[in-house]
C-alpha cells in the first residue's frame, strides 16, 4: 500500500505491507520519521491523516494521551487499510548514509537467567548477522503476546549474531510476564530494529557521562563495550552512575567493576555497604540524578551525556544536565521507555 508523508520540509513516498505499522514501513524504507519509543508510550510519532483509513493495533496505548485532535494517530501503532496521505509536523530527512536501517527479523531465545529477584537476562540468537550502533534498541514480540516492547542491547559488535538484553519484571507487562512465566529457552521472537538515537561512536571524542536507572543500564553496557573495544578511556574520561533501590537490586557489578570509567552505584533506599566485593566501584546513598549532580559538579567540560531508565528518573537527570551542567541539548541523549 502506498503511503505519502508530507513533512514540514518535503514529501516522501513508501510502501507498507498489509497490517504493517506506518512507522516501521517508513523507517525500513530509509525515511527517518519522528519516533522515540516506537512502542506506543511516548506520542512522538504522532501524525495527521489527510486521506485514507488506518486501523489502530493498540487503541489504549499510553501515548494516545498526546493525540487530541481529529484525524491524529500514532504511526507506531497504526497500519494502513488503504493508500494513505498523512502529515507530520516535523522536519524529516532520509536516514543518514551509513546508519543502520531497521528491518524485521526473527530469533531464538537463549541463556535466560535471573540477575536479581525481578530482573532477567536473555539473549536472542539471530538467523544472520546484524549491525547496530552502541546504545540502540530493538522491538521484540513473542507469538501470541500482542504488541512490540522496546529493549536496549547490552552487547556491542559489528555483524552481531546474538543480541543480549535485560528485562525487568512488570506486574502488567505482557511480554515480561511471558518471559518470566515458564521456561522460554528456544522460543521464537519477532524483532524490529535497530532503533534509537542515543548512540555512541568513538569518533565523538568527548568525555562520557552515563546516568542509568535500573534496567536502563542495558544501553550503557553496550556503549561501554564499544568504548572499551576502542580503548576510549585512555584518552577521554568516563563516569557511570547506576541507580538502584537496594543492593538486592544490583546486577552487572562485576562487569562494571572491570570498566575503565569511574562507576558509582547510587542506592536510593539503603545505606552504603560498609565493605563490598567491588573495590573499583563507588557506592553512594541517594537518587541517581542527585548523586551524579554531587559528583559531577565542575566536571562538565566537553561532556556528552547518555540517560536511560524509568521516565521520572530520566526527566530528573535531564533537568540536572540542562540547568546545572548547562549542556546543550545536542549533548544529552536519552531513551525514555516506560
Amino acid at each position: 500500500m502506498r503511503i505519502q508523508v508530507n513533512a514540514r520540509n518535503r514529501g516522501f513516498e513508501f510502501d507498507a505491507q498489509p497490517g504493517e505499522q506506518v512507522l516501521y514501513a517508513g523507517l525500513r524504507s530509509g525515511i527517518d520519521l519522528p519516533y522515540e519509543c516506537a512502542s506506543g508510550t511516548c506520542g512522538t510519532c504522532k501524525a495527521k491523516l489527510i486521506s485514507g483509513r488506518v486501523s489502530d493495533r493498540w487503541p489504549q496505548a499510553p501515548g494516545k494521551k498526546y493525540v487530541r485532535q481529529a484525524g491524529e494517530f500514532l504511526m507506531c501503532q497504526c497500519a494502513a487499510e488503504e493508500a494513505l496521505t498523512l502529515e507530520v509536523s516535523k522536519f524529516v530527512y532520509p536516514v543518514e548514509p551509513g546508519a543502520c536501517v531497521p528491518q524485521r527479523c526473527a530469533g531464538t531465545v537463549r541463556e535466560v537467567r535471573a540477575l536479581t529477584h525481578d530482573v532477567m537476562a536473555f539473549a536472542l540468537e539471530l538467523e544472520g548477522p546484524r549491525d547496530f550502533d552502541a546504545g540502540q534498541f530493538v522491538l521484540l514480540a513473542a507469538e501470541g503476546v500482542p504488541g512490540f516492547r522496546a529493549y536496549s542491547m547490552c552487547n556491542y559488535e559489528r555483524g552481531a549474531r546474538r543480541l543480549e538484553f535485560v528485562m525487568k519484571k512488570k506486574p502488567d507487562g505482557g511480554f515480561s510476564q511471558w518471559l518470566f512465566g515458564e521456561k522460554r529457552e528456544g522460543a521464537r521472537l519477532q524483532a524490529f530494529g535497530p532503533l534509537g538515537k542515543a548512540t555512541f561512536d568513538p569518533a565523538l571524542d568527548k568525555n562520557l557521562l552515563c546516568i542509568a536507572g535500573g534496567s536502563g543500564i542495558a544501553g550503557m553496557m553496550s556503549i561501554l563495550a564499544r568504548a572499551e573495544a576502542a580503548d576510549y578511556f585512555s584518552r577521554r574520561q568516563g563516569w557511570v552512575f547506576f541507580g538502584i533501590r537496594t543492593m538486592k537490586d544490583a546486577f552487572f557489578l562485576d562487569e562494571l567493576s572491570r570498566c575503565k570509567a569511574q562507576v558509582t552505584v547510587a542506592l536510593s533506599e539503603e545505606d552504603v555497604p560498609g565493605s563490598s566485593a567491588w573495590p573499583n566501584l563507588r557506592f553512594e546513598k541517594g537518587l541517581v540524578h542527585e548523586v551524579a549532580k554531587r559528583t559531577m559538579a565542575g566536571r562538565y567540560q566537553n561532556v556528552r551525556a547518555y540517560v536511560a531508565g524509568p521516565p521520572p528518573a530520566v526527566d530528573a537527570a535531564i533537568r540536572v544536565l540542562l540547568l546545572d551542567a548547562k549542556l546543550s541539548t545536542d549533548n544529552i541523549r536519552y531513551d525514555k521507555f516506560s
Binding site: N6, E13, S89, T329
Partner: protein
Amino acid sequence: MAKPMVCRVADVPENTLKECEVEGGLKLVVANAGGEFVGFQAMCPHQDVPLCEGLFDGQTLTCHMHLWQWDVRSGAPQGIAEAPLQRYPLVREGDALYLGGESTALDVGELFNGLSPSILEKLSSLAKKESHPGGALLYKPGDPAEDFYVLDSGRIEFLVGRGAAPGGFMLRKGEVFGWAALLDGYPARIASARCVEDSSVLRINGRAALGVLEGDPACGFVVMRRLSALIARFLAGAGAK
C-alpha cells in the same frame, strides 16, 4: 474595554513560570525572566505539551518532552527547536499583569522578531492583510515576485521549483514565504504557495521593506542573516539539520 488581567506579579517569583488563564479562555504562560515578565503560548508548538512543565533557568525555556528550547524574551527557537514561541505582550500596572494585546505575525515571525519597535512599526504599516480560502493558489513559478508574505493564520504549502512533489514545505504562523521579492535579480517566483486551509497573510512589498531596512543597517543585517539561514533550510538534505 479594560485590558484583561493575567495574574498578580507575586504569583510568578523570579526565574519561574506559571500558566494563566485569561478571561475569555485564552491560556498563556508567564515567565519571570530576571524581573522582566514575558507571556507566550501555553502549549509547545511541537506536540501539545504544556510549557509550564518545562525547565526554565531565567532565560532559556526547555520543553521537557523533546528538549525544544527558546529564548523567552524573543521567543526565538534555539538548539533543535523548529518553531518560534508566539508571545503575548504584558503590561504591568501596580502589582498585577495585564494582556497588552496579541502579538502580530510580524513580531512572532522568524525574520523580524526582536527588531527595534520603530522598524517593526514601519514594516507593519506596509503590510496589507489578506484572507484566502483553502485550496487557493497564491502564486506559482514564473509569476512576478514583487511582494513577500508572512503567514498570520491557517496553513500554507510552499514548494520550491515546479513539481518536486509529493508535498511541499508546510508553513506556520510567522513564517515568511515569497522571499524572492527580497532578493536582487529574481523578478519572478521560483516556488509555489497554496493555502491548505482558510488562511490569512500579511502581504508586504519587497522593495518598500528593503527601503525600511536600509534606513537601519544593523537591523537590516540581522534580517539578511536570518533570510540566508531560512533559504539554506529549504536546500538542506540529510544530516544538514
